[in-house]
């Protein structure tokens, strides 16, 4: 019984540490903030990815994902299909989420909302403002954003030219992590990995097949 409070203490403190952000001078801070913002898309895009999904339980499956997004309208139109081209899921998010076509396990409102949340996290700048920009632990530049529900997002540049972004809950426990390769001139990374943490963890490894800027 004496161990129980200790266990609670350990659990409470398990995720409490966010990396320190060392302040830098004003010019450099502006540059870092601009670099952070450059990783998010602007305008209207059509993106096609091959997605290798490692699901809860270790199963792996591959899908093709088509996304039409508009950052100005905050809208997403998403289609998931088999690699052979069968559409399994199609939904739009513009305010609310409306499912146009979904089969079997994809015909689930939570799934649809979750897909849209993941797409928004991957490609849209966080809704909140930058609350810190500077040098992170590990001596890399990055930004910390305020996110909804008292969550926070850390976006940190990587030595290979890529970037890493993590969504933490108010306790500092990671909810989502994105690891992206170096971006092309349009700001698009051709390889991205999304890790969902927690009890039902999964990993989506995404390879960009096509990116078209739409009018």
């Amino acid at each position: 019984m004496k161990r129980l409070p200790l266990v609670f203490l350990l659990l409470l403190s398990a995720c409490a540490h966010l990396p320190n952000v060392q302040p830098v001078d004003g010019d450099r801070q502006s540059r870092i903030e601009a670099d952070c913002q450059s990783h998010f898309l602007r305008g209207r895009w059509q993106l096609v990815h091959t997605i290798n999904a490692r699901l809860y339980g270790g199963r792996e499956t591959a899908l093709t994902g088509v996304i039409i997004l508009s950052t100005a309208e905050a809208s997403i139109h998403c289609v998931l299909m088999t690699l052979e081209g069968f559409v399994l899921f199609e939904a739009k998010s513009h305010g609310g989420v409306s499912v146009k076509r979904a089969f079997g396990p994809f015909a689930n409102a939570n799934f649809a909302r979750g897909v849209m949340d993941d797409i928004r996290f991957l490609f849209f700048a966080p809704e909140g403002s930058i609350i810190a920009a500077g040098r992170f632990d590990g001596d890399t530049d990055g930004c910390r954003y305020r996110a909804a529900r008292q969550q926070s997002v850390d976006l940190v540049e990587q030595p290979d030219g890529g970037w890493r972004m993590q969504l933490d809950d108010p306790s500092g426990c990671p909810l989502r992590t994105v690891t992206a390769g170096p971006p092309d001139p349009n700001g698009l990374s051709h390889r991205m990995t999304l890790d969902a943490h927690g009890r039902h963890a999964y990993r989506l490894s995404m390879t960009l097949v096509e990116a078209v800027r739409l009018q």
Partner: protein
């Protein structure tokens, strides 16, 4: 943040298993149609199709696939090759934009997709279901469309066959399939699978060889 994908993972062991099996059956039917239709004889009558199919034991073809969706600015284009050998061996391979291989041989079905770790086998439960569908191909290979349990078939002109799903559940996936037959007997030129009037997949076959010798390992190994 909600966690969308675990739902899929959980469902694989629960009520959706049956659905996945049904869907996999339909998907594999699609794969097998791709293989089987290549073996069909050129004909204007069912009798002619059956007669032409009797002489076909294996097929090799390259294909170009276009996926048309209303939301796409331009169709998605994939290329690959397809190998089939009686009675139950199939290799349906996409080579671009991403390598993806479906193998069926001796009653087993396996699928591999390119990932960061190379070609990784898709161990989804629906692959297990594919082996149940392979026997369907023998009927199609024999050119026996009439009486097929899955599709109502009709000859539309001299070189087109139209297949319409009998089952309403399958019709949610596939509205109809159109097969355009080549002037060369036994060769299909084009297959169009309509999911709706606006969403369809067109596969155009080229470099088709009838009765080539095909190494066993191509039906057994992904590499």
């Amino acid at each position: 943040m909600r966690q969308p994908i675990f739902i899929l993972g959980d469902c694989l062991t629960n009520p959706y298993k049956r659905w996945l099996r049904q869907f996999a059956g339909r998907l594999s039917c699609f794969a097998l149609v791709m293989a089987a239709v290549l073996c069909l004889g050129w004909a204007e009558t069912w009798e002619g199709i059956r007669a032409a199919a009797k002489g076909v034991d294996s097929i090799s073809a390259d294909f170009v696939q276009e996926k048309h969706l209303p939301i796409l600015a331009a169709p998605l284009v994939s290329t690959g090759r397809l190998l089939y050998r009686r009675p139950d061996s199939l290799r349906w391979e996409y080579t671009s934009p991403v390598k993806n291989i479906l193998l069926m041989h001796d009653g087993t079905a396996r699928r591999f997709a390119q990932s960061d770790q190379g070609l990784v086998e898709d161990a989804s439960v629906h692959m297990q279901a594919m082996q149940f569908v392979m026997p369907e191909i023998s009927g199609w290979l024999g050119g026996r469309f009439e009486g097929n349990p899955l599709f109502d078939a009709s000859l539309d002109g001299a070189n087109k066959i139209q297949l319409v799903p009998k089952d309403a559940g399958m019709a949610r996936f596939i509205q109809r399939i159109e097969l355009l037959m080549s002037d060369r007997p036994g060769v299909i030129e084009e297959v169009v699978i309509f999911e709706s009037d606006e969403a369809f997949t067109r596969m155009v076959f080229i470099n088709t060889q009838v009765n080539p010798a095909i190494d066993d390992r191509l039906f057994q190994e992904a590499q």
